[in-house]
């Protein structure tokens, strides 16, 4: 199984310039473990002092916020496209 992960440009200084990479992780905790191993410098950026994913980082699976799919319990499907995106605001107010 393989998923494709896309990172924001701000993070590619921690990945030797790579904005995309493939992972065999089966869920979000597995992906974070994979990042720990493959890109340790990135790992320290995306996690807070308690080792949790920073709350400003949104994870999308294909076009959907992973929180609508069950969050950490969601099982990645082969070919899923995962995006890490900073949260931004907007709307009326």
């Amino acid at each position: 199984m393989s998923i494709k992960v896309t990172l924001p440009t701000a993070f590619i200084r921690h990945t030797d310039g790579r904005k995309h990479f493939n992972s065999a992780a089966s869920n979000l905790p597995g992906l974070i473990d994979d990042i720990d191993q493959t890109f340790p410098a990135l790992s320290t950026q995306i996690k807070d002092e308690e080792g949790k994913l920073r709350r400003f980082i949104n994870i999308y699976v294909n076009d959907e916020d992973i929180r609508f799919l069950g969050g950490e319990t969601y099982a990645f499907q082969d070919g899923d496209e995962i995006m890490l995106i900073p949260s931004i605001a907007g709307g009326t107010a």
Binding site: G91, T92, A93
Partner: protein, 426 residues
């Protein structure tokens, strides 16, 4: 007019790192939102009541604490909208000292977004962007399109495909390129974040966001100045991304720090539609954690299911001693009608939310009758008339003859012969 600004630069809310001035909205280290930090001590001599009073009757009177580039000469008279004493609405909902901050008449496109866009585009020019844009629920699209046209910038604007027709038209008329996205605002927002990463465009609420958001502070400055340089007891603010409510507090805090108003506690109340209420839910549950929602409300301009400033807004509301409330679509329409019928102010659906929530806050005793409360109306009802479809019927046309007019009046319910005679005698 000297539009001298205080020194300012980008600062990370979370880790405190500073990044100078550049088109950047998230901290490169922790992805937390960046904000503008000012040298408030340096602003002391510039940001005075005298200098403000000598300035133009628009937001640029507060230029000393806005992030506008050196040498920028603003000529668009945005803001300084009326603060209306709402006696009639107050009587109806039990509020003795109620005011409406009416940004339904903000220039040039009838929403408070004109404030933020004018600041954002000043910086877009400074950073050399030829193309500007935004993700929008409508009002921002209108404002970016209009102001880009005036500045000679190209505009590309992304909106949810199901936006109100008037908001679509009010974007296209200015010659902007409008891209309708098959998804809700959160989908549009996500796409715009990726676009900002890939294209050299100045997206006002993405890579220009810290500058853009500062324009919201002017609502707070104006409220204080229009109350005679004093702060209200309460402010009721609609919440989409959660930015405006925080920026009004930032304005109040700056005024207190610089001695322009007396320090006093101000309670902040957030207003959302029940069909999209992640911040209201967080406040009610006593948490800063925002659980995203799938929006389903007629108040589309507030329909952000995953508000970036939501956690900070929830925390700020609670720490102020305020509260957040949400109302149904039926109540939203009633709120629109109530504000129009009592104060002659026609607001969009977001204003219906704010009005209905304000009434609820008084009814529930969360605000006491004699407290001074400002309720913020952020957009014009002409843009969301579809929310009122079916609410009003046109009567038949009457021939231009007095006898026909008399007969017509008699047909109407409640018009008696006596009333007609009395009116005629007057």
């Amino acid at each position: 007019m000297n539009y001298s600004c205080s020194r300012y630069e980008l600062k990370c809310n979370e880790c405190g790192k500073r990044f100078g001035n550049q088109p950047l909205s998230a901290c490169p280290d922790c992805l937390a939102p960046l904000e503008i930090a000012y040298d408030l001590e340096a602003a002391r001599d510039l940001f005075t009541k005298e200098n403000i009073a000598a300035g133009p009757a628009n937001i640029w009177r507060y230029a000393a604490l806005l992030p506008i580039p050196e040498g920028f000469q603003p000529d668009l008279p945005v803001g300084f909208t009326p603060l209306v004493r709402a006696r009639n609405l107050g009587k109806r909902i039990g509020a003795a000292n109620l005011y409406v901050k009416n940004d339904a008449v903000c220039f040039p496109t009838l929403s408070f977004k004109d404030r933020v866009v004018s600041v954002a585009l000043a910086n877009a020019q400074k950073f050399g962007f030829d193309i500007v844009g935004c993700s929008s629920t409508g009002n921002l699209a209108n404002s970016v399109a209009a102001q880009a046209a005036r500045l000679g910038l190209k505009a590309t604007i992304l909106v949810p495909a199901d936006l109100e027709p008037a908001k679509i038209l009010n974007t296209l008329v200015y010659g902007a390129r409008l891209v309708r996205i098959d998804g809700n605002y959160d989908h549009v927002n996500r796409l715009c974040t990726q676009i900002a990463d890939e294209y050299s465009w100045g997206l006002v609420n993405v890579n220009l966001r810290p500058y853009y958001a500062e324009g919201s502070k002017t609502v707070g400055y104006e409220i204080a100045e229009q109350l005679g340089w004093r702060l209200p007891d309460n402010v009721v603010v609609p919440m989409a991304g959660g930015s405006l409510i925080r920026k009004i507090r930032k304005a109040f805090n700056e005024l207190i720090y610089l001695g322009l108003v007396e320090e006093k506690p101000v309670r902040f109340f957030g207003a959302q539609a029940s069909g999209c209420s992640p911040i209201s839910v967080a406040v009610k549950e006593g948490t800063d954690g925002i659980e995203p929602q799938r929006p389903n409300t007629i108040a589309r301009s507030l329909a952000i299911g995953n508000p970036a400033d939501g956690p900070a807004a929830a925390k700020m509301i609670r720490s102020s001693g305020g509260w957040a409330e949400d109302v149904s679509d039926v109540e939203i329409v009633s709120g629109i009608q109530e504000l129009a019928e009592t104060e002659g102010i026609f607001t969009e659906t977001a204003g219906g939310v704010t009005t209905a929530v304000t009434a609820r806050l008084y009814a529930d005793g969360r605000i006491s009758a004699n407290e001074t409360t400002v309720t913020c109306i952020t957009g014009n009802g002409l843009k969301t008339t579809d929310a009122l479809i079916g609410r009003y019927q046109q009567e038949r046309a009457v021939r231009p003859r007095l006898a026909d007019f008399d007969a017509y009046l008699r047909e109407l319910d409640g018009i008696t012969e006596l009333e007609l005679t009395t009116a005629g005698a007057l």
